[in-house]
């Protein structure tokens, strides 16, 4: 029985090295928040500037649902 839920979990730019190997199917336990998984992979919180959940900017306290897509960015700009 597969009682694990999964999310897509991507880290970008200078945080790319923290992206887990199982980024396409990253397991989460019920009730986990964006902040929980970010800490779990060891991302340095002071370098995390923008967190997207399903393309919307999210707070660290946002609860994750199975199938969510999370993207973590440092402060970037260009244009």
């Amino acid at each position: 029985m597969d009682d694990e839920a999964h999310i897509e979990f991507r880290c970008f730019a200078t945080l790319g090295g923290y992206q887990p190997e199982n980024a396409d199917r990253f397991p989460v336990v019920p009730g986990e928040t964006a902040g929980d998984v970010i800490r779990r992979v060891g991302l340095p919180l002071d370098e995390v500037n923008t967190v997207f959940v399903n393309g919307r900017q999210a707070l660290m306290s946002q609860r994750l649902e199975p199938g969510d897509r999370i993207g973590v960015f440092p402060k970037v700009g260009g244009g």
């Binding site: 991507r10 970008f12 730019a13 200078t14 790319g16 500037n49 923008t50 997207f52 399903n54 393309g55 919307r56 900017q57 993207g71 960015f73 440092p74 402060k75 970037v76 700009g77 260009g78 244009g79």
Partner: protein, 576 residues
Amino acid sequence: MDKIIRINTRDRTHRVENLSDMGFLGGRALTSRIIAKEVPPDAHPLSSANKLVFAPGLLCGTTAPNSGRISVGGKSPLTHGIKESNAGGTVALALARLGIAAVVLEDKPDEDADWCALRISADGVEFHDAGELAGKTTYNCVEPVHKAFGEKNAWAVIGPGGETCRQASTIQFTDPSGRPTRSAGRGGLGAVMGSKKVKALVVDPSGGERVKAEDVDAFKTSTKRWAAMLKEHPVTSGGLPSYGTAVLINIINEAGALPTKNFRDGRFDKAPNISGEKMAEIIEKRGGKTREGCHPGCVIQCSQMYMDEKGEYLTSGFEYETLWALGANTTIDNLDDLAVMDRTCDEFGLDTIEMGNTLAVAMEAGIIPWGDGKAAIGLLRRVGDPSDPLGRIVGNGARFLGDAYGIDRVAVVKNQSLPAYDPRSTKGIGVTYCTSTQGADHTAGYAICQNVLNVGGHVDPLSKEGQVELSKNLQVATASIDSCGFCLFVAFAVLDNEDGVQTMADLVGARFGRSFSSDDFVALGVSTLKDEQDFNERAGFTKAHDQLPRFFSTEPLPPHNTTWDFTAEEMQGAKV
């Protein structure tokens, strides 16, 4: 820096005027003032009544970091409104050292007149025959320009695009390595230069002087603070130098705002293939350079040298906008193909944003298949053949090609193609596209900072709330930044530092030994925009022109399924 050099391209004479008769102006403030005052608003952009103005910003030539940008102004052949197209490169510094605030190209010679190259030095202005340069691509001008004028000049040149007066043509400026890679890209000003039969503008700074601040101590103090601000901010010190502007591909894609397949989707499934991270990986593998400045005195270093598979130089200034326009918007995801397309645009002197949108329209029309990089390169190269009718049509931009082929899906405002952010999911930038005097332009009021990047605060990109005011404030600040000669990317640091605007104002005050407050800094932007709006109104633009094409209001954009829901009336709040 008080001289205005007026060059008559018909009788090949010039005269020198004093800037102070016009007011305290530089860069965009000066180009827009000259155009608004002197060009009849109903003039055809390619007629003798139009003028082409090159003006370094107020702080060009000083030791203040990132203050070496040039403004080029004229009535745009693309939008038929006023145009300020901004570029890096070395010409701004060279003009500043010669004490020149602006070079104004006036009148035009007969159709069958010979091409000329203008040389400006401490000794004055010379007209040289440019028969040998005519028809050459910009890169192929390097050797003959060096042979004729020496290797230590700064110069601007048009390619076959400008020579044949294409509406998407650029003016290319030499970068610090001497290559003509930096573009005054938008609005077709290369065609204005071409209409005046000027192939190149060569500036020899050798007899000039270093620019000195009037108040040396105050200038030194402000420069120190300014440099620290740029060197400490994570965007200007980390993301931009490491990945270039292409660092945006992934974050704009993640936000659901990366226009894909001619604005059908906000996400491109192959975005990682054209990202800044991927580009940096390839550059490092092939022995290129990930960091390079576009002008002397740049501490951000967001340009690069991109090499081909054999390790030979291919292109630089390989920007996010270029990768998006030629890539995601056409669904081409091969970075090497995109680099060849970028190089081709620089060679022919074509705006990469306009060309990307034009290629997407060519794909709509079935001229070439979606996502086919080789076919796109082939079509672009046809622009270089003046006898090729399709090449001529493509070189005139997205709307012109759309009209020629009966395509109704063309993403333009005031005839200028949209840049790399879908306005349905980043509504602040949509307000800028609609209301900028320049046509659809992202740099004119870069609300992506607050909509997506969390620089200078946060404004929900999907909501209408706060967007009009945000865009207006940014448009004013940008006009000031462009007038000072600052690189727009200083704004990332300025927006996150309380003393950012004050420091810029202090630099201007100390440079010229006059009182210049942060209010004066803002007022400079407001008066510049007023000049531009006034010209456009007299040229026939109304509020009905301040709107996106209708499909943005009727087609929801995945993944957020939002539409553009502002009226043209609501847009008027973003005007000064």
